[in-house]
Amino acid sequence: MRKKLIGMAGGLALALASSTSVLAQELTIFWAEWDPANYLQELVNEYEAETGVQVTVETTPWSDFQTKTFTELNAKGSAYDMVVGDSQWLGAASEAGHYVDLTEFFNKHNLGEVMAPATVKYYAEYPSSSGKYWAIPAEGDAVGWSYRKDWFEDPAEMEAFKAKYGYDLAVPATWAQMRDIAEFFHRPDQGRYGIAIYTDNSYDGLVMGVENAIFSYGGELGNYETYEVDGIINSEQNIAALEMYRELYGFTPPGWAKTFFVENNQAITENLAAMSMNYFAFFPALTNEASNPNAKVTGFFANPAGPDGHQFAALGGQGISVISYSENQEESMKFLEWFIKDDVQKRWAELGGYTASAAVLESEEFQNATPYNKAFYETMFKVKDFWATPEYAELLIQMNQRIYPYITGGEGTAKDALDSLATDWNATFKKYNRVQ
């Protein structure tokens, strides 16, 4: 009897041990539901072929990505081992202890130099300039523009444009030129409109759109180290940038008041607008004839410069972080070591992912691979981002509350909107003891 019991206990122990080792062979990465997540799944399938570790990329629609991730993190859940999280989450997730500190890993692999500098600064480091890293830049992304080459290159249009504005119709080099072109092509009676911009205020769509104008006008959102905002968020440059965005809104298709990446791609595929703002991550759909009947006549350009020659773009994209509550942290680190290898990053780019690896970005091969890769490469070295403090969501909602009525409804002035925003942000920073 005793022997039997010992045998059973031994069997049970063996079964348990083998089941935990089986569990360790599986990793789950959480991301939003979009094409790059599919490309990542293809990439990690190759990791499985090499190592036998099964990696699953689990996704959820963008609209609940933030809510779902933080609900899981707040509950200290171990459902996901890694998350490809938004750059502005860094503060909230690192201060609450949700992310594993990757500083040592970062320094060991010299990632500060391997990855493009802007991606390290915004996707990985928190607090700003602290030398502490919480993520590995995974999907580089920024806002760029697509446009209708056939409309731009039509000789009759070119002639009419030159007669009206006194210079040649071409890809805009400045926001002022972009405004002229938008006005020129804005013909509601023909069902054609000038431009498609982001206006969705439910998360960061509108703010990202406005950031493109603000940063290129030479403005900033605030001092990310001292939390000073007075005279920065409501600077002359920002007021001019907001006024420009409001003006561009006048050249958008009708009903353009809750639009984000889906609608902005539709503006091109449905012949609605001459130019359209969007993240580079959504451009593959525009070069594909199956999803864009105008694929052959769609061109791309980087965010134009402001009046003083500054040229920046709003950062999108995400870094990949290891979750503190994961039971497979060691296995996750091994995966990251594989992920940052040069040949893997190259393969990542080939599959359609936007690598942040400086070497791959700089290679001729990458830049010529698609019609927009060159614009992407140029943009990734001049990107800026929103606040990454833990209270970023409040700052985001306050910005939406202040600027949305001005942009889409013409309520008040740009100065009033930004002055009020400065007051809101000051109060928020005071509330969290960031400033005295």
Binding site: F70, L73, P253, P254, G255, K258, A393, E394, P405, E411
Partner: protein, 301 residues
Amino acid sequence: MATAVLTTLDPQSRAASRGMSDLSIRNLFIIPTIVFLIVFNIFPLLYSLGYSFTDFRASSSAPANFVGLQNYRDLLADPFIWNNFTITAKYVIVSVVGQVIVGFGVALLLNRDIPFKGLLTTLLLLPMMLSMAVVGLFWKLLYDPSFGIINYALGLGTFEWLSNPNMALYAVALTDIWMWSPFVMLLSLAGLSAVPKHLYEAAAIDRAGSFYTFFRITLPLVAPILMIAIIFRTMEAFKTFDLAYILTSQPTTEVISIRLYKMAFQEWQTGMSCALAYIVLIMVLAITNIYVKYLNKVKER
């Protein structure tokens, strides 16, 4: 009464033969329900009341500090929150009044002998059987200024239903009226069919006009059941979230539950959002109480 119930357990039944008393059977049915109610309703309700006096954030590991009535003070002094309440009130009034007029009107039309009455009633009930999210998504398409069928049918050109800040709330309310008028219609129909026919006959003998008959016979007799429909719809409209959230993101349509959602699950201001939820709860309770008092008065008549 209780003993009458307790003594009805048949001594020959299987439950009795297993040694179960009537008391244990009662407990078997009631205790799980009470436990469920306490765990999922009462406990969170009290727990969140506690949180509403703290600066707790579910997204942070920092301990919650007691801040007294600070959250309530901040919320009630916030002009944006008051704006949200004003929008909600406007929405409730437009939407409920619209539903009562349309629903009661259709019920009056249906309350007579017409062919295919049953089929017609069933078809009219379809909108309220759909999911809110689905209704929101397809009304968004119907309202679309470029290809929406509403503008096409009404010849409105590119009229902007949802992106015009002054129109958006009415557009959302219109969708709500379309969806929930059938509910008011159904209850009104039940009320109308219960009005004794002899009252109408008596009115006809007295040569009462149709206006007089409606206000003196029909409406007073249907009023109690109509009030119940209004109570339900007011509570629902006050808490509305899905339709407004899906259809548009205009600040003029940011009803209080959307603000609450953003505060709780985007900003993770857990303590503050608990306080706001309590303010909303108290308001809904107060409004419902007024209605219930009025309903009792109507019934007494």
